[in-house]
Amino acid sequence: MELLGKGFANKDDKVKNMRRADNFSKMAVSASIKAVTDLDTKNKEKNISIILATQFGPHVTTFKFLDNLLDYSENSVSPTVFSHSVHNAAASYIASALEIIGQTLTITSFIDPLKQAFILADAWLETYQAEKVIICYVEEESAPFTESQLHCNFPSYSKHCFTTGAAAAVVKKGSQIKIPMEVTNPFTFIEEL
């Protein structure tokens, strides 16, 4: 694979036309937009795909939905909050923001989600299922998870990169990037590409 661009976002990033999106989705879109500055997604580039990788997904939004259940009852929960607690909402926003109609996939793993995303992107590029792939890694912190880390055996991957942020890389077919045996910190890995 060859790198075409990369971008990073944190929770303070502002994104247009995402009024009801949660931070998880906003960070994903912001990082992806920064990564694709050189791509003409509207006119020439048709065969672009998206892989979003995460360990824990938009759990802040899941907890917000649980707040709804506890504060209001099952019949008064917010459909908007629910829609954003579904893991693939962020990838959907990326597709809408960049008008990408190719493959869109969201994957989770506690072992090495970013590496899995690169492996899959490479497979798609090699088999011409995509000409370019946006790989976006997103993670966010929350009080329940921060507290749980003190009491539970979290995967070692989490200990390195349990933070709030998004990193995106756009790749195409090539031999510049070698998929490593292990990606210990996804944000650092994309930074160093």
Binding site: R19, R20, Y72, N75, S76, V77, S78, P79, T80, S83
Partner: protein, 90 residues
Amino acid sequence: MSEKQTLDEIRTRLKEELIENLSLEDVTPEDITNDEIIFDENGLALDSLDAVEIVVFLQRIWGIEIKDMEQSREILVSIDTMANYILENA
């Protein structure tokens, strides 16, 4: 308290709740007119997800039960139509 004042209070609360629950950006209650068609592109340009969100907060705040989307299309037209329905059914 006169009926008119109660209706005004409902209108004001509706506007505040729309802005809050739908995360409307750069919109104040004063920007929303009572008769504008909220789902119109020239109104607030709301969509189907906003519609179900409104149905939920009408129930949560005023106890209004809207049975299906057919019924919601008649009620969720403007601040006035919603406020009048609330006044009659809350």
